[in-house]
Structures are given as structure tokens and as C-alpha cells.
Amino acid sequence: MSDDLRLGDLDVDGALEEAIAALHGETRSAFLRRAVVGGAALLAASAAPAQAAIDRRDVAILNYALTLEYIQESFYGEVERIGALTGGLAEQARVVGAHERAHVKAFRQVLGARAVKRPRFDFRGATEDSDRFRRTAVAFEDLAVAAYKGQAPLIQSRAYLVPALAIHTVEARHAAWIRRLAGITPAADAFDQPRSKKSTLGIVAATKFEVMKPSSRRRPRFTG
């Protein structure tokens, strides 16, 4: 697949590397981002052949991660659709929203038919006002970092541990980014603590953002 760009394939003689290194960091980021589109696809592709054999515990962990990604994806997606944010906040929501979409897509591909359905959300104004957006985004991102950290040692297969760790630190970057925009220190402590699934889902439930659990049964579209 041509989308699965690999820098190594392109850059065997280092010529391209030299050229990019001479450019500004932003360009390097843009270039790497292309590789990461490939990376997200690879997360799914790597798991696809083994899908039928995913450990039951890993299925539960991946679905839990997907649940957290659904919330974030829906949150930033709604922020973008409403368009109430400007400047640095709008940029953060746009970039982070794209990351969360990539995460959702990757987990759904890995899980296939076992993926939990997307719940319906009502963010109760948090997507319409910059101050409420900031506070909610800080909470979500810090929560995601702690949640991934709690799960990493529980993942059975290396095939899912590697991408989960790669997402974990991206969530930490999101958290630091929005904390700075909210005027609070991006890195408060020398050590970030994990949070259990039960505690994390308790916090999610307390927000009341999730208004409808998707039905586990598929309703027939047509009757009669």
C-alpha cells in the first residue's frame, strides 16, 4: 500500500534525511506525520492476520481504549463542527482531533467485529465555550494518559503493547499542550501515576457526557 510510507525505504542513502534536517522542525514534523499515517495503518495491518486469535483479556483492554478514544474523538469533532474556538485552541482541537480519529480507526480495525459500538454523547456546552473546552480537554487528556498507563502492564501481546505505548505518550503530549494553553504547568510531577479501569470509567460516568449506551444487539433495520 503506497500510503504505508517508510522513511527507511525512501532514505537509503541518507540524502533525503540531510535535506530535511536542513529545514525547519515544522517541516520535519509534517514529513514524519506522513510516516505516521502509515504507522496508524500498520497498527491495524499488524493485527489483522491475528485478529481471530486476540487474547480475550487484550480484547477487553483494546475495547476499553477504544471507548476512551470515542469520547475524545467525539469531543474534538464536535468542537470543530461548532467552530467556537479560535487561535491556539482551535489549532490544538484540530490537530488532537485528527490524532484521536486515527486512534479510533486503528482500534476498530484491530478489533473488527468485536469492536464496541460508538456511544452517543452530549457534552453539555463544553464544546461551545473556550473556558469550558480547556478545562474539559485537560481532564480528558490527563485521564487518557493515566488510563493507558494503567493498562500497559496488563496487555498480553506485544503486538498491542507496542502501539498502545506509542499512543500513551501522544496523549501525554496532548495533555501538556492543552495544560499550557489553560495556563497550568504542562508537567506538574516527575512521575505520572496510572489509574485503574474501574476508577477511570467511574470518572467518565460522572461526567454524564455519555447519554446512550449503544445496544449490543443489532436491531433489524427493516421489519416484516
Binding site: 520535519r28 514534523s29 499488524s46 501538556a176
Partner: protein, 196 residues
């Protein structure tokens, strides 16, 4: 001076090719674990010593920058807080490793800590390098060591995002973090001239 400048540039080049290692690594992971990568206490000691080396370099870097005194405002606040974090990471890893902990290396940061601009540029690359190195090493750790490393790596990612924001570049360039093998990180640190 220009020769000094290239120290920081070496990080950038390493991470560029590091992206390739990361993408390849994810694809390969499902096929087979590389031989000899089965987690073990002996391998933990090796990998945690690698992490300790990264932390020594970072702690030394921030201490050097603060000693030189050219930093002001948010950049200085960043160096102070992050420097304290790196010292805490050094202490934590030394304690975890006990008698197996490596010695502090000789460090030379050249001119990379002499101005806010150079500091910011080098710090950004050092923090990105640390995250990429931890993420590559972490899957090879035993579960208890992985849990401990995970508490550190997200803090390194916060540092990276923070200094990137200060530098005016995107704090989170990728949806999936690139990785860099311990060998590549070591080569990069040696190539930078920071490590003797």
C-alpha cells in the same frame, strides 16, 4: 561555533530515520518477537541502565543551562522544573538498579546551553529522543519494570510537548509516537558530542 551547532542537529537526523524504525517495528511485532527480547531481570537492568544514561544526560543538560544563566521567563521556568524531574528520574533509576547502576558519564554540551535559542532547540531534540528511546525499550521490560518506566515516559513526553510549544512548533507532531532503538539513541548521543 557552527561545529557545536551540529550537536543538536544530530538529534533531528536520528529521529527522522527513527520514524522508519518505529513504523517497521509495529509491523514486525505481530509476526515475531526478535530473538533474545524475552523480558528478564537481566535485560531489565540493561534497559534501565540505558534509561539512566538518558536521564543523566538530561539532568546534566538542564543543570548546565541554569548554571550558565542565559535563560529567562518561561524557558527558565521550564529548565528549572524539568531539570528537577530529570534529577528525580536519575535518583529513582539508581535506586531501582542498586549496585548495577552505571556511573554518571562525562558530559560536554558545547555551546548548546549558552543561549535561550540554542537551549530550546537542543532541549526539544533531547526530549523527543528520550521519549522515542523509552518507547522502544519499554516493550522489552518485565511487567513491573514496564509499569515503572511508564510513569517516567509520559512525563518526558510532557516535557517534549512543552518545549515544542515554547519553540512555536507543534507539541504533538504524530498520532503514533516514533521509536528509536537503544543502539540508535546511543549512537545519537555519542554523535552529538554530549557523551564522551
Amino acid at each position: 561555533m557552527n561545529e557545536r551547532r551540529t550537536r543538536a542537529e544530530i538529534f533531528e537526523r536520528a529521529l527522522l530515520t527513527g520514524g522508519a524504525v518505529a513504523a517497521g517495528g509495529i509491523a514486525v511485532a505481530a509476526v515475531a518477537d526478535p530473538a533474545g527480547s524475552q523480558p528478564s531481570p537481566a535485560q531489565d537492568a540493561e534497559l534501565l541502565n540505558f534509561a539512566l544514561l538518558i536521564e543523566y544526560v538530561q539532568a546534566g543538560f538542564y543543570a548546565d543551562a541554569l548554571r550558565r544563566g542565559s535563560l529567562t521567563g518561561e524557558v527558565r521556568a521550564f529548565a528549572r522544573r524539568v531539570g528537577a524531574h530529570e534529577r528525580a528520574h536519575v535518583a529513582f533509576l539508581r535506586k531501582a538498579l542498586g549496585g548495577k547502576a552505571r556511573k554518571a558519564p562525562e558530559l560536554d554540551f558545547g555551546d548548546d546551553t549558552t543561549s535561550p535559542e540554542r537551549f530550546t532547540d537542543a532541549s526539544l531534540k533531547l526530549e523527543d529522543l528520550a521519549v522515542a528511546g523509552y518507547n522502544a525499550a519499554a516493550p522489552n521490560l518485565t511487567k513491573p519494570a514496564l509499569a515503572a518506566a511508564a510513569k517516567i515516559v509520559s512525563v518526558e513526553a510532557r516535557h517534549a510537548a512543552w518545549i515544542r510549544a515554547i519553540a512555536g512548533v507543534t507539541p504533538a507532531p504524530d498520532a503514533s509516537e516514533p521509536q528509536l532503538s537503544a543502539q540508535r539513541v546511543m549512537k545519537t548521543l555519542k554523535g552529538s558530542g554530549y557523551l564522551g
